[in-house]
Every structure is written in structure tokens, then in C-alpha cells.
């Protein structure tokens, strides 16, 4: 079943997103709202990864890490941050791109979960999608707040 591949993608994407959020938070720690909110958002993704683990195992992989995913679906996380006001803008934007990958992955998995009548996975998809919306909303809010000053006055 190809679903296991997508579960692996969800696992990797959430893991990468969480790590990147932490990297960006720490890298821009002089903006305390970025630091603390990124940590809170990363914790959401951590929880999704944790809850996904037994489901991945149920569908036949020993863990999410073992699932081989198609090369072209993979997204690299942010290993380091950029500096300055525009750097913050770019890092937030990259996080948004990663978050969107997470979002569409859950959309796809949710469709399969319904077709399989897998209540546990349906519940996780709904929960994770809701949290993912909050993550993306915050990134969007913060981007909008930072953009004019960064692009015009900084």
C-alpha cells in the first residue's frame, strides 16, 4: 500500500518542520516573540510525530525513519538562519513553505484515512491539520508585521 510512503512523508515533514522552527527561533532569539512562538509551534509538530509513530508501525514500517519516500517529495529543513531584518523575513517565509508541505501532506493522508475508515488516523489528521493552520497563521501574521519595515526602512 502506498499510504505508508505518505505516512513517512508526514513523519519526515513534521520532523523537519519542528527542527527548522527551533533553528529559526534560536537563530533569531533577540526577537523574543520569534524565539518563544517557534518553540511552541515546534512542540505541536513534535506531538504529531509522536502520535504518528504507532500508526506508521501499524501500516508495516518499523518506524517513520525507515520509510523510504520518493526523492522529489523531500524538503530540506533550515540548517542555519540568515541575519538582519530581511533575513528574518526570508527564514519565516521558508518556514511557511515547509508548513505548507506539511499541510498538503495531511490533506492527502486524511483522504486515504477516510477511505480506509481508520478512526485513529482520521482523528490525528484532523487534529494535526488544525494545529498546522495555527502554525501557518502565525507565520503569516509575523511575516506581514515584519515586511514593511524590513523592506523599506531597514
Amino acid at each position: 500500500m502506498n499510504l505508508v510512503t505518505y505516512l513517512g512523508l508526514a513523519y519526515h515533514a513534521e520532523q523537519t518542520f519542528a527542527d527548522s522552527l527551533r533553528t529559526v527561533g534560536q537563530g533569531h532569539a533577540k526577537h523574543p516573540d520569534v524565539l518563544f512562538t517557534c518553540q511552541a509551534l515546534a512542540a505541536m509538530s513534535d506531538e504529531h510525530v509522536e502520535r504518528l509513530t504507532p500508526i506508521v508501525q501499524r501500516y508495516g514500517a518499523s518506524s517513520g525513519k525507515d520509510v523510504k519516500e520518493p526523492e522529489r517529495l523531500h524538503a530540506d529543513g533550515l540548517a542555519e538562519v540568515r541575519s538582519g531584518p530581511v533575513g528574518l523575513l526570508r527564514d519565516l517565509q521558508d518556514l511557511h513553505v515547509l508548513g505548507t508541505l506539511v499541510q498538503t501532506t495531511w490533506t492527502v493522508v486524511f483522504q486515504a484515512a477516510q477511505a480506509l475508515r481508520d478512526d485513529e488516523l482520521i482523528e490525528l489528521c484532523e487534529h494535526a491539520s488544525g494545529q498546522n493552520s495555527r502554525q501557518l497563521s502565525w507565520l503569516n501574521t509575523r511575516l506581514k508585521a515584519a515586511a514593511p519595515q524590513s523592506l523599506i526602512a531597514a
Binding site: 516573540d33 497563521s137 502565525w138 501574521t141 514593511p148 526602512a153 531597514a154
Partner: protein
């Protein structure tokens, strides 16, 4: 009248539930002045706490020489507090008043004339506008100006310059009150009023040391708790304040949660309402949204779990919830213990939730007072001199922006409304990085009042930004400025202001300001003139000259909005009492309570904000809001408790928290110049619990050093009423800033971090350590009349 330093709240005038609070007129005249020597009494309201007591100023030979309460005023029924009595006028003839402008020349502030000072300001302002545009300008104002001044500043900033970087120190004290009201009800504005004290059965005080912050309002409560059928009080505070003692005395509860855990406590109280069926299901279904989600959020906060997180007794939590759940009329008041602490907006919103779940809103005795810390904070919010748009308009609603554009006759794109407005802490960050190159500070002292003092001093004294300070004295902040402008104070100018329960007062000019000092309104008008701000037809943007004309312009701007002043006038405000907005053709005498029909300003076209995620601060979009169809229903919103930003560690094992003392106000700019108030609380101290003091080998009066990762202070220790594990410091005390000066500002230790929704800085959740420096030579200089009394002499409340 008794000495009100010792007898803070004055004599009791007990009264029964549902009856009027008796009148008691308080008066103070300078020594040597008899009542019959007073030339005239001038109408005003007190500006030394957020209560807004109606008063008259005594004038003799062109000087302000005293004050008395107005018997007929709905706010105070004649009373005044110690600050109002002893601190209202002495500053006005202090020898160190600023009387001439100053500019920095060769690094030194030097006196000059007005054309020179204003010329320097306009030169920098115009150069930056040419080079970088309006985003180079920032304004940081006060909670103590008049409505007319805020509105004028809002128009020149938002329509003249077009900068989104405007905020007030109301961000430090009251932003969460506004945010909580907006999130729950759709717009700012207090649902209830002070008269709810007369009608309630129960009063919950959340993080609100009312006995010290608003002494006259506290007398109103004491007069009920000492009268027939008194209300039961419940107090949430980590210190054993007079409020906490009174809660216990009235058969209520004192809950002392660990600093930084308010939301967990609130989630526990909310869960109890659901568990015991203390929810008005029918009312909730008809008038609110979000109940199922709220229930699922609080579901895991059992009393036992809350007890563990907060360090309170599970039985006491249950008892407090039962009192809330079973009283007919509950009044709740909230202040800095919630607003300046971790998860501020979520915790304050939880108070609104409790009222909504029981349908306790819009009727006598069922009030919510999301309090203000400063006397004119409400006007800053209404008029838009802070991050808001005038008239509680929604910056995210094109129609609202269009209304302002038509009112001011400017292009809507001039009015900055592209994103959340810039809050004070972010303004400071832009100043720090140099993208704001022009910062105008009026009537406030951020060098003392903002978190992480050393950072603020560094930012304001740096070369990267031109700083203008407009104030009464050469404050700690003014000393760092490039231009200092001498301002007229209360009693030296005319204007209106509005307290937390929406009561508008007129304060009339009693005397001339000293030297060349000018009213804040005149200063803003002079800048607007010099900058030649124009509307779309080339006419001057600001079309008023006098306070009354500015008020009339504001009346037009507020028409049709929740804070509608259209039916008010200076003439009407010269009656016996202040008047509560909205005042309209339909409600010509004002409005006692909002939401009496349970219809809230939440419709998408009406609301002041579409709301936020309480955990992250992410904004809800217009589309998302419209899809919810709130249509006049209030929002029930919740959030999970999360640990505070700086938990205790081995290195910093104690939790640091800051707060007020009854005798001082607003970095002591005025109160520190009143002899009796200065003597009553002359200097900085630090409070420890008896257990912590003993463990650290510290006794009363020993000089201790308190350190956080950001700085240190040294002050005598009061072994006091704070809960174990917490350290309390009063935040009024500044420092001369001389080399070698011992640190004594509470904010040397606090963190640069803020609530995600209200953007109010956290002043109450930092980790610290304490050690003894040397033995003291007597008790700490802390007052022993109120919440800072020594633990050994804890007595009952008067």
C-alpha cells in the same frame, strides 16, 4: 479628616446591598491655607491612579494649593485617596520643573527657545521623511494625557506622517484589558461599571491588589463588606495583600498560585463550572460561540492537576469555583497580576469566559472590570494614539479605514493599516536597529518603566535615533534625549479623560504653566503646523486649535462606534458628575452598562478585531471571521497552560515579580515630589517570604543583592507576605544613573518578552537569585500599612 498616610482608606461608611454608597467628602489644603482663603475651586478629576475620582482643584494667588472630592460624582462620591490628596498639586510648584526647551549640544542638554527646539525637531523629521519615509518615525506616549491630545497625536501620526509605529505606556499596564475585551466581546469597552459593587453578592479579584492600586474603589468594597449582607471576596494573588486578608475575613478564599501559572488556575475554575453544571446552557447557546472547544481545552485541568501546577490547595480551588458557580451576582476585577504575567490575554479572557458561561453580564452586580493601570489609558485606546485606530475601528477592515480617510480627507493608503500595528516593545527594537530614526516620547519614562532597563538606556542614549522627550521634569528618560520640551501638567491645561468604567470627566485649566511650558495639545499642534501637514484638498490636516474644538472633532470621529461621544459636550460635562459613554441622541445621559440585551459588537462589519489565537497571537482573517458568523454572539476562547518563559533553575532558583505600592505612582515623577508621599515610601526594597529569608540567612532590613540573567539590584529586604519561592520588588523607583550608582530599579531584572496577543510585556515572570550583601541598620523602607507589611506584624484589614 484623619492622616491618610496612616489611614489609607479613611473612615468606613457602611451600606447595604442595593443601596447607594454614602457620600464622604475628602479634602486637603496645603499647610497654612484655610478653606476661606481659597480664591476659587476648579473642576477636574484625579490623575494619580486609574480610578478617575471627580474633584475640584483649590487655587490661591495663581497656585494650585489643594484638592477636594466632588460629592455628586458617580465615581467617588466625594472621596480621594492618599495620592490624590497629598500628591495632586505639590509637583506643580517644584523647583525643578522644566520651564524652557533644551537641545543636546556637544553632548550636553542646553536650554534654548521654542523656535530653536522645534526647528531642530522638524529638520530631523523632514530629512528622515525624505530619505526613508514615514516608517522612520515612532511615537511613544502615555496613559496620562487628555483625550484631545491623544486624538490630535493620532491624526498627525496616522494621517499626517502615516506611521504605524505609535504606542503608549498603556501597553505596559492596560493592553491586556483591551485585548481581553476585544477577543471576548468584539470591541474594547468595559461591560459593567463601579456601581456593580453595590449590587453584587461576590467579588473576585484576579491579580488585583485593589487596596493599593485604587484605594477609593477599595473603600467602596470595604464599606460593603462592613455593612449589612456583605459580599464574599475571592482573591488570586501570590502575596498576602489586604485584599487577600479581606477575602479570608469575609468567608471567601485566597488562592496564591505560583507566579506564571494563572491560566492553569483559570482552566481549573472553568472546568469546575462544566463539571458541576453551573453553566447557563440556554444563554450560552443563544449568545456565545465556542463552548465545545473551550470545554475540551479545560477538560484535563482537574483540581488535583491544577493544584500541582499552581501550588494551591485543590479543595480551596473547588471552594472558589463553587462560590463563583452558585452566586447570583458576581463582580470580577482583573489587573497586573494577570496582565503583566505569563499568558496574560488568555488568563484575562478566561475571566470573561466564566461570566459568559453563567450569563453574568449586562445586569446590575454582574460586572467585569478589566481594569486600567493608568488614568487615561482608555482614551489612548479610543483615540488611536496607541496601536489602535480611532473609534475602536478595525485596521483590517477596509470600510473602517475608508471612514477615517473620509473624516480626515486623506488617501486611505496614508493611514497605516496593512498589518498588526507596531507595539511598544517592537518600536524599541526598531529604534535599537536604527530603522526608526526619530522617536518622540511624551509624558512617560520608559528608562524606568520598561523591562530590561539596561537595554532601554542603551537604546535611548545611542546615536542611531533622534529622541524627543516632552515632560514636566528632567526624568531618567529626558536625560537621554536629544530635545526636551517642557510640558504643562494637570490643572495647567484643559481636556477630558475617561476612566475604566467609561466615565468621562472634564478637567479645566486652573493655573498657568511655569515659564515657557506649553500644553501637550499646543506642542503637537505646533509640530503639525511646522510640518505643514495637509489634507487631499491642500487645507491644513488638523483643523482645530483649542481643546474644545479637538473634543468636537473627536465626537464626530466616534459617532456610530461603540465608544460614541457624539451626545457629549464640554457644557454637559460641567454638570455634577462625569458621564459614561456611549452618550448619544438615544442615550443623552450616558450608559451605565453595556450588553444589557446580550448583543455584542462581534459582527464582521462592526468588530474592532477579528481575533487572535490566544496561544500564538496569530490573527484570524476577515474571511475566517465571516465564516464563523458570530453576528452579535460573544466568543468563548481558551488556551492550554504552558510553562513560563524563564523557569527557575539551580543558578536562579527564585521567581521574581514586581508590583506597586499605595503611595507612589508612575516612576514617582509627581508623587516623589510630594513630601508626605515620599516619606511614606521613600526608597526601594525587596520582599522575601519568611521561609526563603531564613534559608538564605537574611533578616529584616539586611541589604540584599537580587540578580537575574539580565542585571542586578541592591536594596534592603522586607521579610514579608509574598509566597515562598517568590521575590517581590516595587517598580516605582528610578535611579539617577550616575557612575557607580547602586542598581535599584525593579526593571533591571525583568525580561524583554511579551504576551502574544496583547503584546504587553511580562513584568512578573523572571528567575532570580538573592544573597545578603551586608547587615542593615533597621527595617526596610517599605510601608507597613498595606501589602508590604512585615510578616511578623500581619494584621487584619481595617
Amino acid at each position: 479628616m484623619t492622616d491618610r498616610i496612616a489611614d489609607i482608606w479613611g473612615g468606613r461608611t457602611p451600606y447595604a446591598k442595593g443601596t447607594a454608597w454614602p457620600v464622604r467628602v475628602d479634602q486637603h489644603l496645603d499647610p497654612g491655607i484655610a478653606e476661606d482663603q481659597v480664591d476659587r475651586w476648579v473642576r477636574s478629576a484625579c490623575l494619580l491612579c486609574s480610578n478617575g475620582c471627580g474633584c475640584d482643584i483649590a487655587v490661591k494667588d495663581g497656585r494650585m494649593v489643594g484638592i477636594r472630592g466632588r460629592a455628586g460624582d458617580t465615581v467617588n462620591h466625594g472621596r480621594l485617596g492618599p495620592k490624590g490628596l497629598y500628591g495632586s498639586t505639590p509637583w506643580s510648584h517644584a523647583a525643578d520643573r522644566l520651564t524652557r526647551p533644551m537641545i543636546r549640544d556637544g553632548g550636553v542638554l542646553t536650554e534654548c527657545d521654542w523656535p530653536t527646539a522645534m526647528g531642530r525637531i522638524v529638520e530631523v523629521s523632514q530629512r528622515l521623511l525624505r530619505e526613508k519615509g514615514p516608517l522612520s518615525h515612532g511615537f511613544y506616549t502615555s496613559g496620562q494625557l487628555f483625550l484631545e491630545e491623544y486624538y490630535t497625536l493620532a491624526v498627525l501620526g496616522k494621517a499626517g506622517l502615516g506611521t504605524p509605529h505609535m504606542d503608549g505606556n498603556t501597553r505596559l499596564c492596560t493592553a491586556t484589558a483591551a485585548a481581553a475585551l476585544k477577543e471576548s466581546f468584539g470591541a474594547d469597552g468595559q461591560p459593567g461599571c463601579y456601581a456593580d459593587i453595590e449590587h453584587c453578592d461576590t467579588i473576585f479579584l484576579y491579580g488585583h491588589n485593589l487596596a493599593e492600586t485604587q484605594t477609593v474603589l477599595w473603600s467602596r468594597i470595604l464599606d460593603r463588606t462592613h455593612g449589612p449582607n456583605p459580599p464574599v471576596l475571592v482573591c488570586v494573588d501570590p502575596r498576602r495583600t489586604k485584599v487577600a486578608e479581606e477575602a479570608v475575613r469575609t468567608g471567601g478564599v485566597h488562592l496564591a498560585p505560583r507566579v506564571g501559572t494563572n491560566l492553569a488556575l483559570m482552566n481549573g475554575l472553568t472546568r469546575e463550572l462544566f463539571e458541576h453544571g453551573w453553566v447557563d446552557e440556554k444563554w450560552v447557546t443563544a449568545h456565545t460561540m465556542g463552548v465545545d472547544e473551550l470545554r475540551s481545552i479545560v477538560d484535563s485541568y482537574t483540581p488535583e492537576r491544577v493544584a500541582e501546577i499552581c501550588g494551591v490547595d485543590a479543595g480551596e480551588l473547588r471552594r472558589a469555583a463553587r462560590i463563583f458557580g452558585t452566586s447570583d451576582r458576581v463582580l470580577s476585577t482583573v489587573l497586573q497580576g494577570f496582565y503583566q504575567s505569563h499568558q496574560a490575554t488568555a488568563a484575562a479572557v478566561a475571566v470573561n469566559n466564566l461570566h459568559l458561561l453563567r450569563g453574568l453580564i449586562g445586569r446590575p452586580g454582574a460586572g467585569i472590570l478589566q481594569m486600567n493601570g493608568q488614568p487615561t489609558a482608555q482614551n489612548n485606546r479610543e483615540c488611536g494614539a496607541d496601536g489602535d485606530l480611532p473609534g475602536f475601528r478595525n485596521w483590517d477592515d477596509e470600510q473602517h479605514v475608508q471612514q477615517l480617510a473620509e473624516l480626515w480627507n486623506v488617501d486611505p493608503l496614508t493611514i497605516p493599516h496593512w498589518a498588526d500595528p507596531t507595539h511598544a516593545m517592537q518600536i524599541m527594537s526598531y529604534v535599537e536597529e536604527g530603522s526608526i530614526g526619530f522617536l518622540w516620547i511624551s509624558a512617560t519614562n520608559p528608562a524606568v518603566s520598561m523591562p530590561e532597563s539596561a537595554r532601554i538606556r542603551r537604546i535611548l542614549s545611542g546615536e542611531q535615533c533622534f529622541v524627543v522627550v516632552q515632560d514636566l521634569f528632567l526624568t531618567e528618560t529626558a536625560r537621554l534625549a536629544d530635545v526636551v520640551l517642557p510640558a504643562a501638567g494637570w490643572g495647567e491645561k484643559t481636556g477630558t479623560f475617561t476612566n475604566v468604567d467609561r466615565t468621562v470627566h472634564l478637567s479645566e485649566k486652573a493655573v498657568d504653566p511655569p515659564g515657557e511650558a506649553r500644553s501637550d495639545l499646543d506642542i503637537f499642534l505646533a509640530y503639525a503646523d511646522a510640518m505643514d501637514f495637509r489634507d487631499a484638498d491642500g487645507a491644513p490636516l488638523i483643523k482645530w486649535r483649542t481643546p474644545e474644538e479637538a473634543f468636537d472633532a473627536w465626537r464626530a470621529a466616534s459617532r456610530g462606534r461603540p465608544c460614541d461621544y457624539s451626545g457629549l459636550s464640554y457644557e454637559k460635562l460641567r454638570g455634577p458628575t462625569g458621564i459614561r459613554w456611549p452618550v448619544t441622541d438615544a442615550a443623552p445621559d450616558g450608559t451605565e452598562r453595556l450588553y444589557t440585551d446580550a448583543v455584542f459588537p462581534t459582527a464582521t462589519e462592526t468588530c474592532e478585531t477579528y481575533g487572535h489565537d490566544l496561544l500564538t497571537g496569530a490573527t484570524v482573517t476577515q474571511q475566517e471571521h465571516r465564516a464563523m458568523r458570530p453576528d452579535g454572539r460573544a466568543f468563548l476562547k481558551g488556551a492550554e497552560h504552558t510553562p513560563a518563559h524563564e523557569p527557575v533553575s539551580e543558578e536562579y532558583p527564585l521567581l521574581y515579580t514586581t508590583g506597586r505600592t499605595v503611595y507612589q505612582f508612575h516612576t514617582r515623577t509627581k508623587t516623589g515630589r510630594a513630601e508626605r508621599l515620599r516619606r511614606a515610601a521613600p526608597d526601594m526594597w525587596v520582599e522575601l517570604s519568611p521561609a526563603d529569608a531564613e534559608r538564605l540567612g537574611i533578616t529584616e532590613g539586611d541589604v540584599v543583592r537580587v540578580e537575574s540573567p539580565r542585571g542586578w539590584i541592591e536594596a534592603p529586604a522586607r521579610v514579608g507576605q509574598v509566597r515562598e519561592g517568590a521575590v517581590f520588588a516595587p517598580f516605582h523607583y528610578g535611579t539617577p544613573g550616575l557612575a557607580g550608582e547602586v542598581g535599584r530599579q525593579a526593571n533591571e531584572l525583568t525580561m524583554t518578552v511579551w504576551d502574544p496577543v496583547s503584546k504587553q510585556p511580562c513584568f512578573k515572570t523572571a528567575a532570580c537569585r538573592v544573597r545578603k550583601v551586608r547587615a542593615g541598620d533597621g527595617p526596610a523602607p517599605a510601608p507597613d500599612t498595606a501589602g508590604s507589611a512585615p510578616a511578623s506584624t500581619s494584621g487584619g484589614t481595617r
